[in-house]
């Protein structure tokens, strides 16, 4: 339990540092701003159509919707994997429409990303998978040796850092992925269907972990299909439908398609 408290303190400190580094955004504490964003692909109907979304620092937000509703496109826009056809996107003070190519890596270092299929490196053990994120940002080895075990303890994998991904359960693999996303102390954690491949018990544990991370000060965005969890957790819910935001409710629930 002690470790967790220390991590809380550390994350809070990094949050203060992060604010100082980036300055404030538009006078408010908004960390993600989408203004009238549209994204059209070469063929077919636009994936996003005039979406506006404002997320404050420290919020926990669910983004729900069917496949084809534009959730994935939104995640890709937030990662600056895609550029919008029109509109403005601002994340942590970075203008994602005008950002220079060589600044993108620096921007992404402030984001932690968790995927449905975990995306761990299969040929490396748990420790190396998490350390990988630190090597990428050129963290000195002695710091890596300190940070990785501590973050693995936070996600509850202290004893398994020598295991290879295939020796772990789905829930454990997702914990490794979360540890990797958190080890660089991001301001925002983006989770794209984090429980999609997990059984209910593991899904709940992962969600509890994400909630705990959010309580430590990190803004958390979760894209999910999991109705039960969304309804139970009573967080802000943004529902996407056919490329637009159909509803955006504080302490909302999962809205069924038939509505």
């Amino acid at each position: 339990m002690n470790t967790k408290i220390r991590v809380v303190e550390r994350l809070a400190k990094s949050e203060v540092r992060g604010r100082r580094r980036r300055g404030t955004q538009g006078g408010s504490d908004e960390i993600i701003t989408l203004n009238n964003v549209s994204k059209a692909y070469a063929t077919g109907a636009p994936a996003l159509n005039g979406v506006s979304l404002h997320i404050k620092k420290g919020e926990f937000v669910f983004i729900v919707g069917d496949s084809g509703s534009g959730k994935s496109t939104m995640i890709k826009l937030l990662l600056r994997e895609l550029v919008p056809t029109s509109g403005e996107i601002n994340v942590m003070g970075y203008d994602l429409v005008r950002i220079r190519h060589r600044k993108i890596p620096k921007f992404r270092r402030n984001l932690g990303i968790v995927f449905q299929d975990f995306r761990l490196l299969k040929d490396r053990n748990v420790y190396e998978n998490v350390a990988f994120a630190q090597r990428i940002i050129q963290m000195p080895n002695k710091d890596i040796k300190r940070n990785v075990p501590s973050i693995l303890a936070t996600v509850g994998l202290a004893g398994k850092y020598k295991a290879k991904p295939r020796q772990l359960s789905g829930g454990e693999q997702q914990r490794v992925a979360i540890a990797r996303a958190l080890v660089n102390r991001p301001s925002i954690l983006l989770a794209d269907e984090p429980t999609g491949n997990l059984d209910p018990k593991n899904s709940w544990e992962i969600m509890k972990l994400l909630e705990q991370i959010n309580e430590n000060g990190t803004t958390v965005l979760v894209v999910t299909h999991n109705r039960e969890i969304v309804n139970a957790m009573q967080k802000r819910v943004v529902t996407m439908k056919k490329g637009v935001i159909a509803s955006d409710e504080e302490k909302g629930g999962y809205i069924d398609d038939e509505d």
Binding site: L79, R108, L121, I136, I137, Q138
Partner: protein, 298 residues
Amino acid sequence: MRISTFFYTLKQGIINIFRNKWFSLASIATIGACLFLFGLFYSVLMNVQSIVKTAQEGISVTVLFDDGISQERIEEIGSLIRKRPEVSDVRFTSADEAWESFKEEYLGEYSDGFTENPLENSASYEIYLSDVSMQPALVTYLEGVEGIRDVNRSEIVAATMTGVNALIAYISLGIIAILFAVSVFLISNTVTIGIAVRKEEITIMKYIGATDFFVRSPFVIEGMMIGAIGAVIPLGIIFVVYNQVLEFILTKFSMLTKLLSFVPVEDVFRQLLPVSVALGVGIGFLGSIVTVRKHLRV
């Protein structure tokens, strides 16, 4: 770049080589073959040049003087010739020396009957050239100098020597150029496979915020290492083979040794070693950097 990052990149580069070992092996073999041929041509070329040079040094232009020319004028002509840039050596043979050597060579003890020097007008300069291709120009010049009666030369030998030298150089250059193009292509293929194998890892790296440089470096290191290994292997083979071939020629065709002057292996390697390693690493660098740029628009 941090030292730990450098070692990490190096390690990843080495892992890449082993991860697709068959393609790495094929690339190493191709570069090795190219550099082996390069080394072979280089060794042969160097020896041919050395032999041609020795032969060239043997080619001389002989100058004979007008009747009754003064000793001063002969010395004047001598210093004029020495000033020419293409001249490497000038040797004076006086009439007496010419007679002495003639006697020794052809008459032996029968020379006693001569009281006067029958070769009185046979004092000469023997001129050696540093560059045989300059021979015609020198001859034209000499023929215009006052006091010179006759210029003897061997035009055909000079022309042939110059031609052979140039031909070998051009053929070698052509073959080597083709081989290098093939090597760059093969390295590029190997790196492409490497990128395909690590596609997922690269995607993850990009999501986490790796710079382009960080993503690309291991592949470039991989290419350069393949190039370096591909250079060292043929150098080793050439070193061993060269000495054995030389030994074989010198024992089996011992009469050639007087005619031909071979270059010792150390002299060949003084240039071949750095040039080959630089070429290998250069090919690896070029092949990988081009491919990485093309396939990793990260």
